[in-house]
């Protein structure tokens, strides 16, 4: 008997098992579409009222004219498109066809535009600043990008980093403190701000080191440690804010990093101000996203880190030091989050304030999951959340009839819907939150 597996006939009959169809997605899309049609389509001011979208800024290389559209017709058209997309989704379910990510993307854009048209309808004095909206998106996404990169770095090695919030806050605090101290002794605000920017990752790395100590050395549940560290950082920074910073006001001043517009590029309409007229922190963010994405998936270091996060014992049996890798990554992740914390103080030109990160660390965690534990995914997800935040600011400027409390919920609502609806079934690194014991 010399039969081999390859010679044995492989029985692979057609699969015809009836699986119950899930109508959840088309129903949700349809209901939301209908509500939008009534609220923002039919209720938009009619009778020749228009909405104006402004794209260009005064010193652009060339000027894109402002776009003015008839408000009600446009809003109705956009919401009808959304309802039609819900129909396409229903058709996909009925015929068991998979429909790509383009559908929810286009659906979302249509609804957002409809809301903008509604908000800007009939206002002659104000117009919708699309470029401003996008600038806000990038700026507000910055701490989320750093936070979710930190989470990605840790979790890819098998350590859950709930302490991103604390790392951001610690970074924000130390950046402000160091910037204040250096600028008051040297007299140069921008020099002080840069030194603050350098100091921020140190604070985050310390929080990361504490996390790795408890998680790797003492096998404490990583989620518990992370939450405790967040509370600890809130307590410590609030204490020093109330004592050290109050007694020495020069240590906590509003000092900002200077804007560094890139010549020529920054004057391209829309793209220029959004991408190339930012401060050092945002440029660092671009670089870190690109470098990490390459390193994590194409380098020796990345391969080893991912193996440690997926199957630490396999990594150990080929001579990779599992716990050393985890400690390094957790500290490095903490440093990245700490750097992101600088956004709240020196990169925004604000003084430190108690609990000023306001839950951004948790949103960053959601962005990490939505981005499927990859740096470029984290960037995309953070931009989505940043956009929701920026939209809230725009509405605040235009002044709509939506209560401001509801507007303030917008980024969080977007987070819940994105994580629950778009993520579907993702697989985190297999060894996450499991201490490696020999």
């Amino acid at each position: 008997m010399t039969a081999t597996l390859t010679e044995a006939p492989q029985a692979q009959p057609a699969v015809d098992i009836e699986v119950a169809r899930s109508w959840r997605t088309p129903i949700i899309l349809g209901v939301v579409g209908l509500i939008a049609f009534v609220l923002f389509g039919l209720m938009t001011e009619g009778g020749g009222a228009t909405t104006t979208f402004v794209l260009s800024r005064p010193n652009d290389l060339f000027t894109i004219p402002a776009i003015t559209v008839p408000a009600q017709a446009t809003a109705i058209a956009l919401t009808v498109i959304a309802i039609a997309l819900a129909g396409v989704s229903a058709w996909g379910v009925q015929n068991r066809r998979k429909i790509g990510m383009w559908l929810p993307t286009v659906y979302g854009i249509a609804l957002v535009l409809a809301v903008l048209v509604w908000a800007g309808a009939g206002r002659t004095a104000t117009s919708i600043q699309l470029t401003g909206l996008l600038i806000g998106t990038v700026v507000l996404a910055t701490p989320l990008v750093f936070g979710s990169l930190a989470g990605t770095l840790c979790e890819r090695s098998g350590i859950v980093n709930i302490a991103i919030e604390g790392q951001l806050l610690a970074g924000a605090f130390l950046a402000a403190l160091v910037a204040g101290a250096v600028s008051s002794s040297t007299g140069s605000d921008s020099f002080g701000a840069y030194v603050g920017l350098v100091a921020a990752p140190i604070a985050g790395a310390l929080v990361g080191a504490a996390l790795s100590l408890f998680a790797v050395r003492y096998w404490v549940d990583q989620i518990v440690v992370g939450v405790v560290l967040n509370v600890l950082v809130v307590g410590l920074t609030s204490f020093f804010f109330g004592t050290l910073m109050r007694e020495n006001p020069e240590l906590n001043r509003a000092i900002g990093l200077p804007d560094l517009p890139i010549p020529v590029l920054s004057r391209i309409p829309v793209i220029g101000p959004v991408l190339f007229d930012q401060n050092m922190l945002v440029y660092l963010m671009y670089a870190i996203v690109i470098v990490l994405n390459i390193m994590l998936f194409k380098s020796r270091w990345g391969l080893r880190v991912r193996s440690v996060g997926e199957h630490p014992k396999a990594a150990d049996t080929v001579g990779i030091k599992v716990n050393r890798t985890r400690v390094r990554n957790t500290i490095l992740g903490g440093a990245v989050a700490g750097l992101g914390g600088a956004f709240f103080t020196v990169a925004s030109g604000l003084a430190f304030n108690k609990e000023m990160t306001g839950g951004k660390g948790y949103i960053a965690l959601a962005a990490m999951i939505l981005g499927r534990w990859s740096p470029k995914g984290a960037l995309a997800a953070a931009l989505l959340f940043g956009f929701a935040d920026s939209l809230r600011e725009q509405f605040g400027i235009i002044g709509t009839s939506i209560p401001s409390q509801f507007l303030a919920m917008l980024p969080y609502l977007a987070t819940i819907f994105a994580v629950a609806g778009l993520v579907g079934h993702v697989r985190p690194p297999a060894a996450e939150n499991i201490p490696y014991k020999k």
Binding site: M1, P13, I17, S307, A315, V318
Partner: protein, 504 residues
């Protein structure tokens, strides 16, 4: 390379897993390390591979003492190991797994040189006729192919001694034959192979020399020409019968009827495809197949812990699909899960409480909201005696028992209710020969009492020993139902997907 272990002793607390073990592996030799589960074979190899530190003794390579801090050192010294549970990263490709730990890099940015890894995989794969695609993702590969990836991994590090830890546990008979052929090729090419196993057939097929280990000690050397009975009695320490005594079945009415049962998991992957079969009262239907071909889903669907996508099952004319698990159990289903520590017992609870997990809220064990400890203890004492559970007290935790005694607790619990159907998944996995005999005897007694019995086992020996009829599963389907005297090669081909008539 000549490998020598001298006086290796390894203790875990008060338990001595390896007691002054001596072993010599000559270059190019296939050296079988034979012993029961828990005899200390894997511990010894983990010491050799640097995963554990030995308490006493030393490892000599070509006469030179070697001290391995970790597996990295062992590999650098030319020792490769294929673990029983594969040490492969499931979402990585074959090439990535092979290169992991000794990656080649290129270019100024020092990025991974995947081409070099691919070439290496191809080269070794072609040398030994492995047919492994370097770009395949490991988790998508069948188990046999994953094992070949492990061997490629070891060879790519220029291993001169290759340790195979229970390599055939997860393979079909045909895959096993292929592996044994590979082992022979490797030794011809000059690689020494240490084959750790408890399967006598394999030892006889390839070993040049055999060392038998029992309870952490070397109890003897044997030649591959020794008979199976001789090897078995060396391994167990007493004479053992290699067969199961049972009378012919007297099947009664149809007790379990499974009709067109399908299961699609939460990822949308079909795990069970239109499965239909009957089990009659007083007969044992054994399901043969390589692990992961839908057996788990089938048993769990019958119990009710796995949602059924379509089809149904009737127990004595009543539907059991779509009912709560409790109702199914009370309708007369006894269930021995495949993982007794995970699903069969609560390790931290006492033996007495584990024995009434399913009946804790019913008389006589409970009255109203209160348990009746005295009744529970009495019943527990009876069960301990009936099932020969070796323990100091019924108040000891289930986790403190050996595997065989844990399985007896599970069996005692499930057989203490009046049953119409007994489902047992891998009922003797990891048990010593004595416990295996006991469990088999109880299962056959239950059959003779007129219960329908459904056995799932990935050990062909067990299937053949117990079954009155054998159903073979492959890729979520039943490829055929055959009589128990069907020859192994036919069963093996069916386990690889060949239909009954093609295989015969």
């Amino acid at each position: 390379m000549r490998l020598e272990l001298r006086g290796i002793t390894k203790r875990f607390g008060t338990f001595t897993a390896n007691d002054a073990i001596d072993l010599v592996v000559e270059p190019g030799q296939v050296h079988a390390l034979l012993g029961e589960n828990g005899a200390g074979k894997s511990t010894l190899m983990n010491v050799l591979f640097g995963l554990y530190d030995a308490d006493e003794g030393e490892v000599l390579l070509d006469g030179e003492p070697a001290d391995f801090e970790g597996p990295g050192d062992a590999m650098a010294a030319g020792i490769g190991m294929v673990h029983q549970h594969f040490m492969l990263v499931p979402p990585f490709t074959v090439a990535e797994n092979v290169m992991l730990g000794h990656e080649e890099v290129r270019g100024p940015a020092k990025l991974l040189d995947l081409d070099a890894a691919r070439a290496k995989v191809k080269e070794i794969s072609e040398r030994f006729n492995f047919a492994v695609d370097p770009d395949a993702v490991v988790e998508d590969l069948p188990v046999g192919a994953q094992q070949r990836v492990e061997i490629i991994k070891a060879l790519s590090r220029d291993a001169e001694v290759l340790i195979l830890d229970e390599p055939t546990a997860v393979l079909t008979p045909q895959e096993t034959d292929e592996l044994l052929a590979i082992v022979k090729d490797l030794s011809k090419a000059g690689t020494s192979v240490v084959l750790i196993t408890h399967k006598l057939r394999e030892v006889q097929a390839v070993a040049d020399t055999i060392t038998v280990i029992r309870r952490g000690k070397v109890v003897g050397q044997a030649e591959p020409t020794a008979s199976q009975e001789e090897l078995a009695s060396l391994m167990v320490g007493r004479d053992v019968s290699m067969t199961v005594d049972k009378d012919a079945a007297k099947p009664g009415a149809v007790m379990l009827s499974v009709r067109d049962l399908s299961v699609v998991d939460e990822l949308g992957i079909p795990r069970l495809k239109h499965v239909s079969f009957n089990v009659k009262a007083g007969e044992i239907l054994a399901i043969a197949g390589v692990q992961g071909n839908g057996q788990t889903e089938l048993t769990e669907a019958l119990l009710g812990s796995q949602p059924v996508t379509s089809g149904d099952a009737l127990l004595d004319g009543e539907f059991i699909t779509g009912k709560p698990i409790k109702d199914v159990l009370m309708a007369g289903l006894g269930f021995v899960p495949e993982d007794r520590t995970e699903d069969g017992l609560v390790a931290s609870m006492t033996i007495a409480n584990n024995l009434i997990l399913d009946l804790h809220d019913q008389p006589p064990y409970a009255s109203g909201m209160a348990l009746k400890p005295s009744v529970i203890d009495e019943e527990a004492a009876k069960h301990v005696e009936q099932f020969d559970i070796r323990t100091t007290s019924t108040e000891a935790t289930a986790g403190s028992l050996s595997g065989g005694n844990q399985q007896k607790v599970v069996l005692a619990r499930e057989l203490s209710r009046p049953l119409k159907l007994l489902i047992a998944s891998n009922p003797t996995r990891g048990l010593d020969v004595g416990s295996i005999e006991f469990v088999h005897k109880r299962i056959i007694e239950e059959r003779d009492n007129g219960t329908a019995v459904l056995i799932v086992s990935s050990e062909l020996d067990e299937v053949v020993a117990l079954a009155d009829r054998i159903a073979v599963m492959y890729h979520g389907e039943i490829v055929g139902i055959v009589p128990p005297d069907t020859d192994r090669d036919t069963l093996g081909l069916m386990m690889a997907g060949a239909k009954q008539e093609e295989a015969a």
